[in-house]
């Protein structure tokens, strides 16, 4: 029989991902439809990673709400948010509680709009995100898909912009992606873009909603795009914004891996070449060259080292591909989401590289990762900071990347993507391996 209890979960709930995605839309505030605790806990969780003010409202269910439905609370919440935050968009995400009592968000919202007919109110969007629909990453995808469903207009046009759906990446990654698209000289719409809202400068005055994000009006134009690029090989089609636009608006979709490592980054840049009609700018050729050269510099230190990696499914897939490229092996791979075909993709990847077959978990918790690590052993953990305890108990170093990073500063600034991000990850991992070797050595070598 399968286990009943989940220990030290690697995944978080759907509304967390949705809230994060909505942070990347300009002048938007999120409200979770449910009780107060969920919103507060998620704020705390996100704040500990981004170290920025993050407001997520709650419709604050009471016992009466749970019995009679959340319509009234929702309306009151919308009123209060409108007056305190003056947002352009209010994004309402359901929670387990509102879903379980069968509360109909869309009905409440259309009633609200009726009630307010003739008065100026913000745009309102609702997403259905009970936690049993998936983990945080699925919540993220659901939110992005819902945004384009709600706002996109028109039909694909060859002169339209490029849509980029990067998924859950760091603020630094988002800024990098923008600079890449800029270099390709192609108009684009990136959804979402929390690079400024979740890593902004200091403030002179309080901003109820931090500046930055994809403008709401830009979302309409995702429908006339010439093409969409979405990072994700194992996204459920129903949760894929690019797939939706392909089906409804005829926008060609490229579903490609998260660009980490040479192979995955090559796919990204090739796709960009095709879609923009601009050939790869020199700076990227140079960076790719440097990356290849750096692989050479690092190869001996990392060769045969065995990694335990965990995180969101697509993230794990790309990291796995990168580590195999540099001659490392995979001992354990724990995917936290509900990706479609995650395991098969990983098995194919390992076989194609003649690698050691790792223990693979889908929808894993840290207890499973721990047990697997105990069985397989390993030289390095690669993943978010939540693996720290296991890494410490095994006395195996941890390289912190991905989300969340709760015990270091700068998690929001880690650059993972493209040739340049890969260079950074390569240095990080190689140096950690060197550091371990150095500290275990009886001689204090100052050349390695």
């Amino acid at each position: 029989m399968s286990k009943a209890v989940t220990q030290n979960s690697c995944s978080y709930c759907t509304p967390l991902g949705a809230s994060l995605a909505f942070k990347g839309i300009e002048n938007t505030i999120t409200m979770l439809h449910g009780s107060q605790g969920c919103a507060t806990y998620m704020r705390r969780f996100l704040i500990s990673h981004f170290r920025e003010p993050i407001d997520i409202a709650s419709s604050s269910f009471t016992e009466e709400t749970a019995i009679f439905g959340g319509g009234q609370n929702l309306h009151l919440g919308l009123d209060n948010l409108s007056s305190q935050y003056e947002p352009e968009l209010i994004a309402v995400a359901s929670t387990c509680l509102s879903e379980t009592i069968g509360d109909d968000l869309n009905m409440h919202i259309s009633e609200y709009k009726k009630k307010k007919a003739g008065q100026p109110i913000p745009e309102i969007i609702a997403v259905s995100t009970p936690s049993y629909k998936g983990s945080h990453i699925e919540g993220f995808y659901i939110a992005v898909t819902e945004l384009v469903k709600h706002f996109s207009e028109g039909k694909s046009s060859p002169t339209g912009p490029v849509n980029l759906f990067p998924g859950m990446v760091s603020c630094e990654d988002l800024r990098y992606l923008k600079s890449v698209l800029h270099a390709f000289n192609v108009p684009y719409i990136m959804v979402p873009d929390y690079s400024e809202t979740l890593e902004g400068g200091n403030w002179k005055n309080h901003h109820p909603i931090p500046p930055g994000g994809t403008p709401v009006r830009a979302l309409a134009r995702t429908g006339i795009a010439r093409g969409s690029i979405e990072f994700g090989q194992v996204i459920d089609k129903k949760q894929s914004a690019a797939t939706y636009l392909a089906e409804k608006r005829g926008v060609p979709a490229a579903m490609i891996p998260i660009p980490i490592g040479i192979h995955c980054s090559d796919i990204f840049f090739k796709t960009l070449e095709e879609i923009s009609g601009t050939s790869l700018p020199t700076e990227f050729r140079q960076t790719r060259g440097r990356l290849v050269d750096a692989y050479g510099d690092a190869h001996k230190y990392v060769f045969g080292k065995r990694a335990i990696i965990y995180g969101e499914d697509d993230f794990v897939l790309s990291i796995a591909s990168f580590l195999l490229e540099i001659g490392m092996q995979l001992a354990v791979c724990g995917g936290s989401g509900r990706g479609v075909g995650f395991k098969d993709k990983l098995v194919d990847l390992v076989q194609a590289n003649d690698g050691e077959m790792p223990i693979i978990y889908e929808g894993s918790d840290f207890k499973e990762v721990e047990l697997a690590a105990m069985q397989k052993g390993g030289d390095i953990f690669v993943g978010n900071s939540k693996g720290y305890k296991i890494s410490r108990s095994f006395d195996i170093p941890l390289v912190r990347i991905g989300f969340p990073i709760h015990d270091r500063v700068g998690g929001q600034r880690i650059h993972h993507l493209g040739y340049k991000g890969t260079l950074y990850l390569l240095d990080l991992i190689t140096n950690e391996i060197i550091r371990t070797k150095q500290s275990l050595s009886s001689v204090a070598y100052s050349y390695i």
Partner: protein, 450 residues
Amino acid sequence: MPAIDILKARQTQVYEKGRDHFTIECNKKSLSGAVSQRACVFCGSRVVLYPVADAVHLVHGPIGCAAYTWDIRGSLSSGPELHRLSFSTDLNEHDIIHGAEQKLERSIRELAAKYKPNAAFVYATCIVGIIGDDVDAVCRKMTKELDIPVIPVHSEGFKGTKRDGYKAACEALFKLVGTAEPEAIEPLSINIMGEFNLAGEAWMIRKYYEKMGINVVSVFTGDGRVNDIKKSHRASLNVVQCSGSMLGLAKMMKEKYGTPFIRVSFFGIEDTSNALYEVAKFFKNDKVYEKTQALVKREVGGIYPKLLEYRKELQGKKAAVYVGGAFKAFSLIQALRVIGIEVVLAGSQTGTPEDYDTLKRLCNEGTIIVDDSNPVELSRFSLEKQADLFIGGVKERPMAMKLGIGFVDHNHERKIALAGYEGMINFAREVHATVTSPVWSFYRKKAWYE
């Protein structure tokens, strides 16, 4: 009511001393759409019970409630560390439609077999309250089957506020109290309540009392053990810290076992000393009293000169204080005064009407007092009142720092001991480090190109 736009329904929860004359409304449910800094009933229960380190804490519900609270507090244990693990029944759609009693049962069984805990606490979260699992029945059954107390904690998030969570936790603990007898009954004995051993604070405080010749039977719940809790009804006195969280248990113990209680705070020089003297007075024992005097003299003498040094540099600075319980706010106001800082904004998530009366008394004219506040209010008032320092929890930290206001974490998640005498020095050091840091000058000055 001060002159920023506050949500109408919140106007009775914001008060400016010297200008307003009304009773602050509190213990209300949070307002829909206001970004409350509060968590939920479950949070209250978990805060109180969590440090019991030889029990498993199983969160019955969907994954979030457990995942977000995994190891978020700095409660230390000198032995087992079961409290630092996160266990969830991770309810899925099937469980929600068909009920999850079986899954709960299996989960408890798995955990008992694997970790051999001395008790299990089963937290019922929101969904459980809706799908109607009979958690009590499952717990009864498992108690029999496993021969350890398996205790339900009714902490459905929407059924009240954090205070109701405290109450549920006290009820859960009360089920353990009195279920075992100590070998010997010590006359000079106390329980310490509402002390959660963040960064080892309970150990420090326990040591003070032991030096006074007092026997500490049980600490609720810092570095807590099931067996100590069971025997705690034989202590002569309950020493209750922190406004709301454990007063309920003290009252229940008084009613059933006749154990008297006193309310104290271990934060700041004055309050810590009072907490020790009050206990000494209670026992009317000369030896104890003498030892207490000597202890206080030694400890205060040890840190006072250093505090004065800090005071010299901090004199005249202004602070905003927003914490969970109002009692903590009282202590903070006094402790800050010791190092020369006045409070210009004070508030709590869970204060009672009496608490707010006390706050009004303690504060200076012009101080703003808030109940269940939100980031918009907190940041605007901090700016308006020109606070140099904000004392709060993780959620307030980035808000304050973004505006160039120093910050000290005084929440359950901190890793620095702030209680007792040593804690006071740590506190002063923390305040000093953040208030006098040169980094804020870059926030205030214009950039060269501006």
